[in-house]
């Protein structure tokens, strides 16, 4: 199927509008399409919508690795939720060229486009533990952030790959953590006792969370590369795990590509149940350009091999790999044609799936503080086809994506789609 752009008589390309994409892909969840486009185009709030933010009820600041931790002086909702429970992991972008507008109309919040109502939205609620403090005086929201059903703990928000300009070009992790440290005294590293106390408090709220996720910037030091990162996760996962009555608990680690010895060490010494290491750009040449540090220190093929090797430890369906969907088209070295880019990405995703690893995508946002902040993302249609393609590959290989589904993470339009086909009914190999 031809995708994305049509050529006008003038020779200029014209993308399909949201409405045109909704009509063309009427077998795809409209919520997933809307979410993808809101993430891609970003959004702004009207004053009326901002007045609906209740600082006692809603989240307006959050510790995140990538993006922004918010500004306590200008309270803005952390993010949005759609009527079907679909999360939108996005925030207003000052440089957005054609953003959606969140407005308040007749007492309800809506995402609008050029004055037209697109869908009803809701602000993310603030969990009960958020305004409490650990015994060391740390605000608990700075220890664990919360998505609508997930507890996020990111123990180290500094990435060593950035040394010497080797950070991934789509990422703003160090820029974000440095700014937050400077302006708000947010520490880049967490302490295990703070993690233990925050998780303990979070679990007191009935029905609030279905998963605990940990992630961090890469730590290259140790006897072997990543050894110190592995030890940090073990310490933190053990601290969190002390709050559970069973040894293993629904949990995900999004981390560097550890070797088999390191993976086994984490699995055997913690309650961790699932593992993700993001391949980011599923193409060796582009990985070498965009993820320069990762390619230099580990290499694309070895990074991929390690992810697949994790299936032997965690089991099929319990290992996934994320990509920054659309970043494969970044200029100047990215793939220029959307159909060609889609083909390359889906072929690599199928190779992963055939070996027990789900590939999931987020929508690339050219963020402030990243090397790619001035780039332009592919068309909405590209993202719809990418989500359909990745979900279809999982169906073909009967891969369960419970570990990274609409509720566990919410940042993957493709796993949102699995919800509509009974994703969890697929049997693991």
């Amino acid at each position: 199927m031809m995708c994305a752009v049509s050529f006008q008589a003038s020779g200029q390309t014209s993308e399909l509008t949201l409405q045109e994409v909704l009509e063309k892909y009427n077998d795809v969840s409209p919520f997933v399409i809307i979410k993808s486009d809101i993430t891609r185009r970003s959004f702004v709030y009207t004053d009326r919508a901002l007045q609906a933010l209740d600082k006692d009820k809603h989240q307006y600041q959050q510790r995140v690795l990538i993006g922004s931790n918010g500004d306590e002086h200008a309270a803005v909702p952390v993010s949005l939720l759609l009527r079907d429970g679909t999360s939108i992991i996005a925030m207003p972008s000052p440089g957005a060229r054609n953003p959606y507008v969140v407005d308040r109309i007749d007492g309800k919040l809506y995402i609008t486009d050029q004055g037209r109502v697109v869908e009803e939205v809701e602000y993310w609620y603030k969990p009960h533990y958020y305004d409490q403090f650990t015994s060391s005086g740390k605000p608990m929201w700075q220890v664990a952030s919360a998505r609508p059903q997930r507890l996020d703990i990111d123990p180290n928000s500094h990435c060593h790959f950035w040394s010497g300009g080797n950070g991934c070009k789509f990422c703003n992790i160090n820029a974000n953590s440095t700014r937050s440290h400077k302006e708000r005294n947010m520490e880049k590293q967490l302490k295990a006792q703070d993690v233990y106390e925050t998780v303990k408090e979070a679990l007191k709220q009935p029905g609030a969370f279905t998963n605990l996720k940990m992630s961090s910037g890469s730590i290259l030091s140790g006897q072997e590369i990543f050894d110190d990162e592995v030890d940090m996760y073990i310490e933190m996962l053990q601290a969190a795990g002390d709050n559970f009555k069973e040894r293993k608990f629904p949990s995900t680690l999004v981390a560097s590509a550890f070797n088999e010895r390191q993976l086994a060490k984490i699995y055997e010494n913690t309650g961790l149940m699932t593992y993700t290491s993001d391949i980011e750009i599923p193409n060796e040449a582009l990985f070498a350009w965009i993820c320069k540090g990762k390619h230099k220190e580990v290499g694309y093929r070895e990074w991929k091999r390690r992810i697949i090797a994790a299936v032997d430890i965690f089991g099929a369906g319990n290992v996934s790999s994320g990509i920054v969907g659309g970043c494969e088209m970044a200029k100047p070295h990215g793939i220029k044609d959307e159909d060609e880019a889609l083909k390359i990405v889906l072929e690599e995703a199928e190779d992963f799936a055939s070996q027990g690893v789900s590939m999931v995508h987020c929508v690339w946002v050219p963020m402030q503080g990243s090397a790619f902040h001035n780039q332009v993302t592919p068309s909405l249609e590209y993202y719809v086809q990418l989500a359909k393609g990745l979900s279809g590959i999982r169906q073909k290989y009967r891969l369960n994506i419970d570990m990274d589904n609409y509720r566990k993470c919410g940042n993957h339009p493709d796993t949102d789609l699995d919800r509509g086909i009974g994703g969890a009914t697929f049997q693991c190999h």
Binding site: K57, D84, G423
Partner: protein, 152 residues
């Protein structure tokens, strides 16, 4: 005037009433469940509490909210039956309302782990007893009957 009021509202609040929810999957294959806990809220919307995340009903309701497909609820008490058709309009998985129903489920049975609060907006309501259906048939299709019914 809300579609759900009076006797129907009372039946929806009655845990002894029989309540059946019918849904269909993406390909139209039907599925039904019997769930006496189906109720309604103050806005006259129907509330269904899904306890199993990956149940066929939950998957079907997801497709219904995505593609604006109706579901049906049959409600019956002593000598009365109603058929309600409507659209799922909210799938609530977090926030204060979810927490309210999560606690309610846990109070019913500590084993219950609520997945989703479904809000269904009624679109059609009809009486569904045999007498009501037959009366409608006679009024709208007077030619459709066996003649021996009219014999002296």
């Amino acid at each position: 005037m809300p579609l759900i009021s009076g006797r129907i509202q009372t039946l929806l609040q009655d845990p002894q009433a029989t309540k059946v929810l019918a849904t269909a999957d993406k390909l139209g294959s039907p599925h039904i469940i019997l769930d006496s806990t189906i109720t309604s809220n103050e806005q006259g919307q129907i509330i269904y509490l899904e306890l199993i995340e990956t149940s066929q009903t939950n998957v079907n309701l997801v497709n219904s909210i995505w593609f604006k497909r109706k579901v049906a609820i049959q409600l019956s008490g002593t000598g009365e039956v109603y058929l309600i058709k409507g659209y799922p309009v909210y799938s609530i998985i977090s926030g204060p309302l979810f927490e309210h129903y999560y606690k309610l489920c846990a109070a019913r049975n500590p084993e219950f782990d609520l997945s989703t609060v479904w809000v269904i907006e009624p679109d059609e309501v009809s009486e569904d007893t045999y007498e009501a259906r037959k009366s409608k048939e006679r009024a709208e299709h007077p030619l459709v009957m066996h003649l021996d019914r009219l014999a002296k």
